[in-house]
Symmetry: C2
Subunit: 116 residues, 2 copies
């Protein structure tokens, strides 16, 4: 089939985006918000990063996230979300009318590994 | 930890990249090449796309890929690889000295779903 997407990008544009395997060390709901979880994520950088993500609805018990490896965009500028700095963004699929899913690599891929 | 990556991108730059769940319909080694597999991948677009990927070494029996869902970059311009047009690119992790892994969402995420 033809690729008719009008928003084509170059390979160089794609390569600008850094997506990295992170291991979730902790996950807790941010009080007084509907959707936000505060995650601590290890990317084998020496210290974990704090990442805020609007996925609370998919994980009523955030503790199930602890220990999981998932994919994160790791070269966005840090930004403040509800008074918490987020230093990266969860990269996942679905939500809304379709199931939500983390992108979990095989467990033997170490945190810090970049997507290619 | 501080995000010291020097190659920061904006959210808009990130959003340019379209990464989509594809279901692999067929996978075969391209003769006379060391690394190339030719995949047929369904993105719920009406007809599957042909995608060429250098992952033969990780899948000595390409048939194991058939039926799997994985992530693909779907808005790159088509390009020719060894006389075969590739209309997308596998988006995975690892390789080289570390394990290679597809990014397989939970099986109930339909093909065609975009990463967010």
């Amino acid at each position: 089939m033809e690729n008719n997407n009008e928003n084509k990008i170059s390979y160089d544009e794609f390569k600008k985006v850094e997506v990295t395997v992170g291991k979730i060390l902790s996950a807790e709901k941010i009080p007084d918000t509907d959707k936000l979880l505060k995650l601590s994520v290890d990317f084998a950088e020496g210290a974990p990063r704090q990442i805020v993500s609007g996925i609370s609805a998919y994980f009523p018990d955030p503790a199930v996230l602890v220990g999981k490896k998932a994919m994160f965009v790791t070269n966005l500028a840090p930004r403040m979300i509800k008074d918490f700095e987020s230093n990266g963004m969860l990269f996942a699929v679905g939500g809304g009318d379709i199931p939500f899913s983390l992108l979990e690599p095989a467990s033997d891929v170490p945190e810090g590994t970049k997507a290619v």
